[in-house]
Symmetry: C2
DNA sequence: ACTTGTTTGCAACATCGTTGCAAAATTATT
DNA sequence: AATAATTTTGCAACGATGTTGCAAACAAGT
């Protein structure tokens, strides 16, 4: 399990460090999107703020994680699927943000519908954000 | 023209001040979404940063403008349509962000498609962000 | 084990956004 | 038209967030 995470780093020509292993582990253990602050808390405050910023930046560049825009304007990050690589992101799935618990999910199975945009505009990438209540916060 | 803007403020039970008139004017003159920084520059730096923050906040609460989430994580604001009011936003249109000039447009005429989300989740609001090249930046 | 190159942590800084409070402007009242 | 009551503004200070330079610590290759 730890070796799988190590492999991800090696495949992306990244040095294997405690910091990177720990952060990748957090993404694998929590099946949801994490903010910089989440990581700072979850990691037990062992790592410097700056290091976390730089690690996340590196992971985004390498295509290991992707960023998700949110309405309340905090950056959150989530693991990419297999087919993302350096400079090639293919995160064409819907993102769901729970208004109760604040959790952001990647709905991998929900594909993005096609959008008809006006003449003169050309679309390169579509982001769909759905706000609502997630299955854990659903009233019984 | 200036009176129309004054009316908007009065209809929302807001005092008519230079600041608010100027900011509303900027939104009417520039047919695109504006960031806090945009307003600071466009207004000629006559108003305090804090005042701009508070004015934008007030306008959002009153339903005069709405916020748009962006991938690069800067808040942008745009005018609401007629039917938005205090606590009632109905901005179900697509937002388009030009990757070249950075302009954010509200595509009022493009409606949001329905999204099938997994069981257990309930959707309340859908945000669609399209990135691409706008009609002004289109290569000839 | 040693060397090379990368990564980390610290310090300092820049930007962004918020809050409390007194002065100024706007609205309501007489 | 003048005054009183309320709202808004600007300033100062603060907190949170994100960035950069540089020396020490670490990982990878020989």
């Amino acid at each position: 399990m730890d070796e799988a995470i190590t492999d991800i780093l090696k495949h992306n020509q990244l040095s294997v460090t405690d910091n990177r292993l720990k952060i990748l582990e957090l993404f694998h253990n929590n099946n949801k999107a994490l903010s910089h602050a989440d990581i700072e808390h979850l990691s037990g405050k062992n790592f410097d703020r700056v290091t976390i910023y730089r690690t996340l930046q590196t992971f985004v560049e390498k295509g290991i994680i992707h960023t998700i825009p949110t309405a309340d304007n905090s950056i959150v990050y989530a693991l990419c699927k297999e087919d993302c690589g350096e400079g090639h992101h293919h995160d064409d799935h819907v993102h769901f943000i729970c208004d109760k618990c604040g959790t952001t999910y990647c709905l991998e199975q929900t594909s993005i519908p096609s959008i008809n945009i006006p003449k003169g505009f050309s679309a390169h990438r579509v982001n769909v954000l759905v706000n609502g209540v997630c299955k854990n916060c659903r009233p019984s």
